[in-house]
Subunit: 409 residues, 2 copies
């Protein structure tokens, strides 16, 4: 494990991921959905784990999401997750549902566990039936030792992503070390809600189901639901958390003295993955962070942040290192939030460009130089109330157009 | 005037514009806001005209919009419009307001009319003060005969537009020929509401103010508010209609027997301009029309249409001539409208690609060939209710990114 950036209470392990918590293994293979790359992966826990999920709000929820939700509902647990990339199994009707159930059943049979203990999910092209023979052949081989490898899993879930994404944290619960690890994939059709991506989080903590679900929803609203790449909310997004309890701490609930610490750890994992997805947005060259302060409510702060981070004009200006703050103010102005123009301040990094509703004198070249960095911070101060929010996204580039003008064919 | 494409009751004059109705003249000059192109233009009526306007919903409404709204409110009339391009006079505070009033006063003085009879509007870069000396010098020269020219006006309002936009229609009201002419500019920050553009419509009809305003709002909701280029709602959008009554028909109100015909004519003008703006969106190579049928309400039909036409993924797929209907279905699915997946049909041109919630067998090459055309029609049938809507937009291309990564600097 690489170096640990530790704060007092949360140890961050940049290289850690889903198999760092006790009792989890993961792997992946190439089964033939994609031409060459890994396209089928799994996470398995030694014992059934308390499970919580959040799912896309798109009306055309893909078949595997329906299967996974229904399965978790049976006893709030799963023991394994099977993921394929290259084909979303979305808009595939009854046959798609049959296929998702079959994926689940076949993998459960290999593991020797009940079907409803397997969560299934898919990502890739919409509207094509899964190549079930290839997937079934893959499922028969995937548990072989040679494919058991966390890196294989992290690779097998990717589509147009350019890199794997992972993070783990450790916190002390009842004096015992609890680990939370995660991985995720982006990188197009990325827009709240929900996360418009796949995220997998594992932990060896013992957590009550309802509280875990509550924490996941709350954290998702602050992290995965605050990123956008292109404003398109996919049919397949989900984040799953598995908590297998192998650390044997006293069960975590909202009443547990270390509850906040556990949620902080979960939030660090989800925020880190969310930012990595935004940075790795299709064609992106920069990560953009929009911090909105001083709103009348949490929802208003989020709405302003999302409006700015979703603006194609803001995104292209950042790509072109153009300190065109007028586009930021414009996007705030159409967010639907009752902003008071004469109170608004905007900064790009350390440079204040707009103050109390008026442009500030700036040295254009200085700000342009700032915008050449890879991490851009936009600070918007509404100066109206006490609520803040952060949103993350990326610039809009030639490569975004290139990737999406020819992704499928 | 070029050839007239006449329907039975509405004669369409593709080359007609704002000076075709009786008693209007227009012109434009280069006053120095832009480097070379025309940047200051006017429309003047021989007599005060009943005026109606619709304005951006962006909270940061630019100074000239405030001035124009306030002025029209005085007696529901204006006699002239002064427009500059190259500078939006937006986010310019008290000084911006003072400058807009001064533009108005100076031009009124040249015309020898009261200030409140001049509407003013601006388009271009946000957050810079108007170069008032240049504008004032321009105003002193602009009424000279050599600059009086409808084409000059149509050019003077453009920013990144690649072409002028115009249309006129003629209808018989009380047996007299009434002409309605219009011009508009796009072509970035184009998204409802309102039109995110400038539109100017003139007519020699005699129309009651309240009814004219009602008709303009209704027509705008079906036309200018149904287009998008990039989802960004500008600070400066407005559409102004001037009706100078020189045809001397009996005053048009909702009770007039020819009222519907007049509104039809107005709608044809606005729809034509709206489509031209969409087609001339920044970097666009294609006009996309999304027809949504069978919704439970007008608003739901519009919401589905806007969601699809705004999707970067749909726009890039069309650019790449990729029959990726999954992105269309996805965008419908996150529109917020309670669609029933198993009832949904989608066609690209004459090719049905999705029926009752399932993919249709298609000959990929045929659909790809269709998508190579310049005008693409997407038909979405919800099969739920009786309401329909149409939305227009354009593809998302390398050139959009190029234009917007470096527009300002």
């Amino acid at each position: 494990m690489a170096q640990a950036i530790s704060s007092k209470e949360v140890v961050i392990l940049e290289e850690g991921s889903v198999t760092l918590p006790l009792g989890f293994k993961a792997g992946g293979i190439h089964c033939g959905i994609k031409r060459k790359k890994l396209d089928l992966g799994y996470i398995v826990s030694d014992v059934p784990a308390i499970a919580a999920g959040v799912y896309t709000t798109n009306i055309f929820q893909a078949a595997p999401l329906l299967v996974t939700q229904e399965s978790i509902a049976k006893e709030n647990k799963i023991q394994a997750i099977l993921v394929n990339s290259g084909n979303a199994n979305a808009c595939t009707g009854e046959q798609g549902l049959t296929d998702a159930f079959e994926m689940q059943k076949e993998f459960a049979s290999e593991l020797g566990i009940q079907s409803h203990l397997v969560g299934v999910t898919s990502t890739g092209v919409i509207g094509e039936l899964l190549p079930m023979e290839k997937i079934k052949t893959g499922i028969k081989q995937i548990l072989m030792n040679e494919y058991e490898n966390e890196e294989n899993f992290k690779k097998s879930i990717l589509t147009t992503d350019t890199c794997m994404k992972q993070i783990a944290v450790q916190v002390k619960i009842d004096g015992k070390t609890v680990t939370i690890g995660g991985t995720a994939k982006g990188s197009g059709m990325i827009h709240p809600n929900m996360a418009t991506m796949l995220g997998f989080v594992t932990t060896d903590a013992n957590v009550a189901h309802d509280d875990l679900l509550y924490a996941l929803k709350d954290v998702t609203n602050q992290t995965f639901n605050m990123i956008t790449v292109d404003g398109d909310t996919s049919t397949n997004d989900m984040v799953l958390v598995m908590a297998n309890g192998l650390v044997a701490n006293n069960q975590l609930t909202k009443e547990h003295p270390d509850w906040e610490l556990f949620v902080d750890g979960l939030k660090i994992v989800c925020e880190s993955l969310a930012k990595k997805i935004a940075r790795d947005g299709e064609g992106a060259t920069k990560l953009i962070e929009v911090q909105v302060n001083g709103a009348y409510s949490q929802n208003e702060a989020r709405a302003v942040g999302k409006s700015i981070i979703s603006s194609n004009l803001v995104k292209t200006a950042i790509y072109g290192t153009d300190p065109n703050w007028g586009r930021i103010v414009t996007a705030a102005g159409y967010s639907g939030v009752p902003i008071e123009p004469s109170l608004l301040d905007v900064s790009l990094g350390q440079y204040k460009v707009f103050e109390k509703g008026l442009p500030c004198p700036i040295v254009e070249e200085q700000v342009k130089e700032y915008l050449q960095q890879e991490n851009i911070k936009i600070l918007v101060e509404l100066n109206q109330g006490d609520y803040n929010a952060t949103a993350w996204g990326c610039d809009l580039t030639y490569d975004y157009v290139k990737i999406n003008a020819s992704y499928r064919t």
